[in-house]
């Protein structure tokens, strides 16, 4: 499948002012007595990809709805592309909701044409977008006949309508096969390279680890961490795993060591003095860091 391949047909605009693409300050959202977001302060630079992590109900979707202006904050301030959220401001924003749904009777082309009209986008841009996400051949078929992956790709196509300067993607890779996932992230890389800001939430942490510029971890509406991957590793202070092969000489023997980050180099030097044939260094993964930083699990509250 050649989904999501090819050249991006859009000339994207960038925010050249240097102001943050997203800035929230003391943002709180309460549903009754329950806090969906609790005094959240966060900013995202133009062209940055911020991964939003958190268990179900951590507040990720609520944050996206607040940024879109679909719900009002209980307290705090929000700025999206330099202005408070508004219908007009959404012209420059592309959004892919979690489990995106389209009217089943419409064809892929009709869906995209309809949404292009809502965004006042040239209808002529819809076909290149459908080609871009690998749906050109299925464009005339009703959406109800699409697989989950195809619906998700149509969702991505609509998010790209009208050269958005900010993309908000809620679990965008659900249902995508590994090749589509890879090309999807290549596309995101291309877009961020052109100055598009991306806010992405996903439960597939391994996907985000190498791709996101920064990572924000939410738990019960609170921001637990907001840093680069290296920064998170430093904060977490989790041991680095070193696997040394050939410790007994002539390629025999294997030793696994979990050492503190600050002791890594010293341990490596000590090991290098021996008869090693190979050495592997495994820094803590995002998954390990996420578990360590303590997002509580198993709670399903409102998000």
């Amino acid at each position: 499948m050649n989904a999501l391949r090819g050249e991006c047909p859009m000339a994207l605009q960038t925010n050249e002012s240097g102001d943050p693409a997203i800035a929230v300050d003391g943002l709180t959202k309460a549903y009754g007595l329950q806090l969906a977001l609790d005094t959240l302060t966060l900013s995202v630079r133009p062209g940055e990809m911020l991964a939003l992590l958190g268990h179900n109900g951590a507040g990720k979707s609520t944050l996206m709805k607040l940024l879109l202006g679909l719900t009002r904050p209980t307290e705090g301030r929000i700025s999206v592309l330099g202005a408070p959220p508004s219908p007009a401001g959404r012209t420059a924003v592309g959004f892919l909701p979690e489990n995106v749904v389209f009217s089943g009777g419409m064809t892929g082309k009709e869906v995209l044409t309809y949404l292009a009209r809502l965004k006042k986008v040239d209808i002529g841009t819809t076909l290149p977008l459908l080609e871009r996400v690998g749906l050109a051949d299925a464009a005339g078929r009703p959406v109800r006949t699409y697989s989950k992956g195809m619906r998700q790709r149509l969702g991505l196509a609509q998010a790209l309508l009208g050269h958005p300067r900010l993309l908000m993607l809620d679990e965008p890779t659900t249902g995508l096969d590994p090749i589509s996932r890879k090309t999807f992230y290549e596309l995101l890389g291309e877009l961020t390279g052109r100055g598009v800001t991306v806010l992405i939430s996903s439960h597939v942490l391994t996907e985000l680890e190498a791709r996101a510029d920064r990572i924000a971890i939410l738990a019960q509406g609170r921001l637990l961490a907001h840093d680069t991957m290296d920064g998170l590793r430093r904060t977490a202070g989790l041991p680095v795993r070193i696997i040394a092969h050939g410790v007994e000489g002539a390629g025999r023997g294997r030793r696994v060591l979990d050492v503190a980050p600050e002791a890594k180099m010293e341990t490596l030097r000590a090991l290098m003095d021996g008869p090693l044939t190979d050495i592997e260094i495994q820094p803590p993964t995002l998954e390990t860091i996420y578990a360590h930083l303590g997002a509580p699990t198993g709670q399903e509250d409102r998000s």
Binding site: L68, L70, P87, G89, R90, S103, G105, E110, Y114, R117
Partner: protein, 273 residues
């Protein structure tokens, strides 16, 4: 405006695709044709043309069917999309919520207007082919069609209000059924009972025209009767019809379109997702 037209176009396309337009048009055509032929032998001292008899019959029976069709078309327009999951994406677009409501109303209103004009028009065409009606009969028919479209629009507006008031589609269906029953059946029965009990005397008798206009179905009935002298005579309601200027009945019906629609728009705009 582009967004409103786009949303209206989508509603029309969907109604066409799922056979709504076809079934509503056929239903109204069948009703009109049945009444045209069942009521085609007027007797007694009321001299009326065949089309006039059909108009009076349609005014009496359309009052039940048109609101039902309108409510079925509109009751889940917002709650249905919310339940289906398409609402979040729609509202994430640069479209105000009042524009969403306006587009949906325009779409549904067009579907119902088409079904009414074509459905009733078909019956009129058949009657005209058999024996050409007098010009004033055509006028009465045109007024009936216009009033019927107005009645349908009022119940579409009520349907849209229902669709933003309740959190579940099933509740919206129940509420729509209840509204239809109250406005179309029970309200008149209650009024009639009160009139019989008081012998039409006292405040109820005096306030009857106003009370009738507090219900879109009765405003429609009054509008038909006020503009159709012959029809009023046949319905035996000349006195009430004479006390209400046609413009007032038309204004009441127009308010029944505007007020629920405005309320729906305000409530929807304040809704948090």
């Amino acid at each position: 405006m582009t967004a409103i037209l786009a949303i209206a176009g989508k509603e029309i396309r969907e109604a066409t695709r799922n056979r709504w337009v076809l079934s509503a048009t056929l239903l109204l055509a069948l009703l009109a044709l049945a009444l045209a032929f069942l009521g085609s032998a007027p007797t007694g001292d009321v001299a009326a043309g065949r089309l006039t008899v059909t108009v009076v019959s349609l005014a009496s029976l359309g009052i039940y069917l048109l609101p039902l069709i309108a409510l079925l078309l509109s009751f889940d327009t917002v709650v249905g999309e919310a339940e289906q999951g398409t609402l979040l994406l729609l509202l994430a677009y640069p479209v105000g919520r009042s524009a969403v409501m306006a587009g949906k109303f325009l779409g549904h209103a067009s579907v119902l207007a088409f079904a009414t004009v074509v459905g009733f028009g078909l019956a009129a065409a058949v009657l005209a082919a058999i024996s050409p009606p007098a010009p004033e009969e055509w006028l009465a028919f045109a007024l009936l069609v216009a009033a019927s479209v107005g009645l349908g629009w009022a119940f579409i507006a009520i349907g849209h209000l229902i669709s933003v008031l309740v959190p579940e589609r099933a509740s919206a269906a129940g509420l729509a059924g209840g509204v239809w029953l109250v406005l179309v059946v029970l309200y008149d029965m209650g009024l009639m009972g009160a009139l019989v009990a008081t012998g039409g005397q006292g405040w109820i008798g005096d306030a009857l025209p106003a009370l009738l206009m507090l219900n879109p179905a009765d405003a429609y009935r009054l509008l038909n009767l006020t503009v159709m002298d012959q029809a009023a005579r046949m319905a035996g309601l000349q006195d009430v019809a004479a006390s209400v200027p046609p413009a007032m009945a038309a204004a009441a019906l127009a308010l029944w379109v505007a007020v629920p629609l405005a309320l729906a728009s305000v409530i929807f705009s304040r809704r948090e997702l």
